[in-house]
């Protein structure tokens, strides 16, 4: 066992954090009273650079911040927006909470599912899109609503979905 509570064989699988990742993590550490507090920040930083959080990345952060791997995994799996599996180039987050449900998000869901051939939790074969549900996006007066990456798309209709998907395909 090492100080971070990991078994030695898995430690060798940790990847090396990039200088950029380390810089950003170090900056976060200055903002909190305890460096163990930045576990989530570090996971988000790594995900921003790598697209998702692999076991190797998780172990690297765990060693860097001296947080037991199991604790960090507990944090990583708790949050909806930390991806422990590879995701597509564009992550679609479709709101399926109450106002969007009233305004017809089920129909939008079925349409996207058919159009991209993927259900919630899946990634399209071409690696372009991952499709996930998300709780209320705080955009209920413009329901149905969804995010693609960092961008919000609102007052969705089936026609609008066609346009939006095309827009991201072209990027």
């Amino acid at each position: 066992m090492t100080s971070s509570g990991l078994i030695a064989s898995s430690v060798t699988r940790a990847r090396k954090l990039s200088a950029e990742e380390i810089n950003e993590i170090e900056h976060e550490i200055t903002l909190y009273a305890d460096k163990k507090a930045v576990g989530l920040e570090a996971l988000k930083i790594v995900q921003k650079h790598q697209g998702w959080v692999s076991d190797e990345s998780l172990l690297a952060i765990s060693q860097y911040l001296d947080i037991p791997g199991s604790d960090l995994e507990g944090v990583a799996t708790f949050f909806n927006l930390i991806f422990r599996r590879p995701v597509g180039k564009n992550v679609i987050l479709l709101c399926n909470s109450v106002s969007c449900w009233i305004m017809g998000c089920d129909e939008i869901k079925d349409y996207i599912k058919e159009k991209l051939g993927i259900d919630f939790g899946e990634t399209s074969d071409d690696g372009e899109f991952t499709f996930l549900p998300v709780p209320c996006l705080g955009d209920c007066d413009r329901a149905p609503s969804m995010m693609v990456g960092d961008n919000l798309h609102r007052n969705l209709t089936l026609d609008k979905i066609d346009e939006i998907i095309q827009q991201y395909r072209n990027q």
Binding site: S97, S99, C140, D141
Partner: protein, 426 residues
């Protein structure tokens, strides 16, 4: 006279004001009031006198909450002020408007709150999906540092404050204030036992105040224009204005700042434009997904904390969700139960096991297999998951639409059983 202190600067087409333009419309005047010699104790007294109640859901008096923070030589030197910007209550879309529309108002309020409790560090706990708010707040914080409203010795007062923006990664329970503190400390976001209350032992064991975004946005006006002005805003018994939203199948869904005490009918008809053609109002949740249904007969009540409570519900976040005559009430409650079930943090048994069971029964109803026995089990869960049975307020929140839905829409539940299908599906 200013009548809309929360939204007076908001014009979404134009985008938020930069700091110079914000200053030109009385922005950061409250910090000048502090610089002229208003003590932390006097600041707290002003907020107490204003009658401001928390806008995050529970409606707890803000000044009173602050007064529980231990002060004086024997109190811990480090104190924290935390902004709850984790807005995720289904049907709630008010804090987003404030942060995207006028981020400096929030920062100004954070300075006042932090000064009153003498916190030298403030964290803004922002929902991860709010990327536009994140960029707006980052810019506002940078500008406020540049102008000397943040940092050390603010405007020569000797008061120091750093504001740190923390973006979360999507989990409703993080909005519960003690779970939020665990999340800030880098732990799994599970609620803490109370007492001790955060005011005494919060972030890293230090005295901590957690306030909602909208609550904090009320503070600049109170200091700048005074308590008498603030008391002049309301139409009812509670003080100030509030953001009220309407979503669902109304003609013009949206969010408006109105005096507390405004009749519900005015919000529903004048602002939201009433129901769309061919639909009737069947019921509504007055303040987000954790509130009890109200009925058309309640439209003439006023948007006041007490008045809504007397009608068996809660004003809570003030964002109404409309149930129309063409939407299945069983499906609507079922959608909420799925949300609560998925967002349960799993810490205590009634919530972790009870909510998925409830969710499963709603699936049965949806599929035409619901039975009288199922209905009985649902009724039992209103009690099993109710206040006092669970570790935090998430599960009791779920019982609000469940219990009131079972009561008001009993007929619809029975029709699902009798017809062996959802009667709203064609």
């Amino acid at each position: 006279m200013i009548t809309k202190p929360l939204t007076k600067n908001i014009d979404m087409a134009r985008g938020p004001l930069n700091i110079s333009d914000y200053q030109a419309v009385d922005g950061y005047q409250s910090v000048q009031v502090i610089a002229k010699g208003l003590s932390p104790q006097d600041t707290l007294e002003l907020v107490k006198a204003s009658g401001l109640k928390g806008r995050g859901g529970a409606g707890f008096p803000t000044g009173l909450k602050w007064s529980f923070v231990p002060q004086g030589d024997n109190s811990p030197k480090q104190k924290y002020f935390v902004v709850n910007a984790d807005e995720m209550e289904p049907g709630t879309f008010k804090d987003r408007l404030l942060m995207e529309g006028d981020p400096h108002l929030l920062i100004e309020g954070v300075i006042i709150g932090s000064y009153a409790i003498q916190a030298s560090k403030a964290y803004i706990f922002l929902r991860g999906e709010y990327t536009v708010s994140e960029r707006a707040l980052e810019k506002a914080i940078d500008e406020a540092y540049e102008k000397g409203y943040l940092g050390s010795n603010i405007l020569g007062t000797g008061f120091n404050l750093d504001v740190i923006l923390h973006t979360s990664a999507g989990r409703y329970i993080c909005g519960e204030e003690t779970a939020l503190l665990n999340a800030l400390e880098g732990k799994r976001a599970i609620p803490r036992a109370k007492p001790p209350f955060p005011q005494v032992s919060g972030l890293w064991g230090k005295p901590t105040i957690v306030n909602n975004v909208e609550t904090i946005c009320n503070l600049p006006g109170i200091l700048t224009y005074g308590v008498d002005w603030y008391h002049g805003l309301t139409k009812g018994k509670d003080h100030g204005t509030k953001l009220f939203g309407v979503s669902g199948k109304v003609n013009t869904p949206g969010c408006w700042e109105l005096p507390l005490g405004t009749p519900i009918r005015e919000l529903f008809e004048n602002h939201a434009g009433g129901m769309r053609d061919g639909l009737e109002l069947k019921g509504f949740l007055p303040g987000g997904g954790s509130t009890d249904f109200m009925l058309p007969e309640h439209l003439d009540l006023n948007l006041d904390y007490d008045e809504i409570t007397k009608a068996g519900s809660r004003l809570a976040t003030g964002t109404m969700i409309i149930l129309d005559s063409g939407t299945c009430p069983v499906g609507m409650v079922g959608n909420l139960m799925k949300f609560f079930s998925q967002e349960s943090c799993g810490f205590c048994t009634p919530c972790r096991d009870g909510l998925p069971w409830v969710d499963e029964i709603f699936n049965e109803f949806e599929n035409g297999c619901g039975s009288e026995k199922d209905l009985e089990i649902l009724h039992e869960h209103v009690d099993y998951l109710g206040p006092g049975r669970t570790f935090c307020a998430l599960a009791p929140g779920a019982t609000a639409p469940l219990g009131s839905g079972l009561k008001y829409f009993a007929e619809d539940f029975h029709r699902h059983i009798k017809d062996k299908r959802c009667p709203y599906k064609h």
